[in-house]
């Protein structure tokens, strides 16, 4: 009997660990710049890195946990000056001028579960986002203008609540039981912008 209970328990643990979140995010019109879908569990990465080359950031979204450290690099032949002044997350910083080969670090000591826009003071077209999330399970969604539908495929572990964040959009939070599927409307300023369908297997 004890052996059977142990086996059942192990099986349950295995099942909880093996949960997968799948689905699709489909935009009604042109997609925005980027987004992130994450599970509400864990602490998030302690460190992350973002590089610059050819006047672009190498990631559309860099993910870090609360008080995690972001290393900014400049591999470009041009000088850059990364800064944040995002009224939505309330984050402000300015790392100063960076020459080729220089690195600098910033601690994400601001409110967690926020998306903060960063840019370069010298090259205003450059942009990226810092996702400061309490999550070890996430999927960055680097959207492109020509593609309206994006697959969701996340190793969900034991998580049951998930959040979709897209800059300026209203965040979407979904709680799913194992085997459950849900469809959610993603809104921006009260207008439907995308449909999110999720299944927890």
């Amino acid at each position: 009997m004890i052996k059977r209970m142990l086996a059942l328990g192990l099986c349950m643990v295995f099942n909880a660990q093996a949960a997968t979140l799948t689905g699709e995010l489909t935009f009604v019109k042109k997609p925005p710049f980027a987004g992130i879908l994450y599970a509400k569990n864990g602490a998030g990465p302690k460190a992350a890195e973002l590089d610059q080359a050819n006047k672009v950031f190498d990631k559309k979204v860099v993910v870090v946990g609360k008080n995690g450290e972001i290393t900014f690099k400049n591999s470009d032949e041009f000088q850059h000056n990364i800064f944040a002044n995002d009224p939505n997350s309330g984050v402000k910083f300015d790392v100063g001028l960076m020459n080729q080969g220089q690195t600098t670090k910033v601690s994400a000591d601001w409110s967690e579960n926020t998306l903060t826009r960063i840019g370069c003071k010298i090259h205003p077209k450059m942009r990226s986002y810092i996702a400061n999330v309490n999550s070890d399970t996430y999927q960055v969604l680097p959207f492109t203008k020509k593609q309206k539908t994006y697959k969701i495929d996340l190793d969900a572990g034991s998580a049951s609540t998930f959040v979709l964040q897209i800059p300026k959009y209203e965040p979407v939070e979904v709680t799913l039981s194992p085997g459950e599927a849900k469809s959610i409307e993603v809104m921006y300023k009260g207008k439907l912008r995308a449909n999110l369908s999720l299944t927890l297997k």
Binding site: K29, K30, Q79, L97, I122, P124
Partner: protein, 330 residues
Amino acid sequence: MSTLRLFLIAAFCIGSVKVGASAGVNIGGLGTPDKDDIEYPDDEEPSEREILLGKTLFYDTRLSKHHNQSCATCHNPELGFSDGLAKGIGSGGDILGRNAPHLYNLAWSVTFFWDGRAASLEEQALGPLVSDMEMQMTPKDVVKRLKEVKFYRDEFAQIYGEISFENVGRAIAAFERTIISDNSPFDQYLAGNKFAMSPSAIRGLSVFVGKGRCTKCHDGENFTDDSFHNIGIDNKDIGRFELDKSAQFKGAFKTPGLRNIIMSAPYMHDGSLGTLEEVVEHYDKGAVGTKNVSPLIVPLNLSTQEKADLVAFMAALTDPVVIQRPIIPQ
């Protein structure tokens, strides 16, 4: 071999040459702008009605204190959306501080005015209206004058719900985003027509992306990095530094896009250079000895032929935007 087969082989070869017309040149990130990349406010494209309202406002002299200027006075479509002057003239006759920049392809831009003080086209559109030197209005006066006109009352009510100063900016910006130039000889060349540019312009493209170092700043589909550089025009104007006290912004100004640039002389933020030939000469010298000049500006040692080729290439960026003047409501 049959005649038909020979014909097919020949046709294939010709087709291949056309497709590969620009394949031999590394064009360093230059290209033809894609309308799908335009980011509209709230991701909403303007309606034709909103664009027509903006165009009417753009040409309406009611928006200046003395009823003598519209946006089109300094940004005249027939003068390359500039005014042909080194520095513009305000509604009260004042000489303005800087050259009137052209308006081509601002739909893709992210920062506006020579010093980048506006972060949106909507904000930029309203700036000259309330400038003490330019159109010398107040937001209240603008709204009051527009409310006196039935056309504006009706159109603003239909499109935005009301006449407001902010909505004037939205309408003008909606029109300005339609000022698009994307079918120049250079674009046709990129699309595969190897005869679209002259041999001199093709050589000029190589100089532009290579020895001339032009793409260090004039890159991308609209030939601008939207950045700010001190290019060695030595005058008292501190430019971007007025807004941001970082040392690199002393005397730095926004890189203008180069589409239709041959139509919008004179050049530089102070209009001090009358021709593209003078501009090329300026960069060739490298602004040696000028304070705070960007490290990107260095002597180029271009030959006379290379200078001429550069100008020929810039001329190949020409695709005029013809605007039919609207009827101004009385």
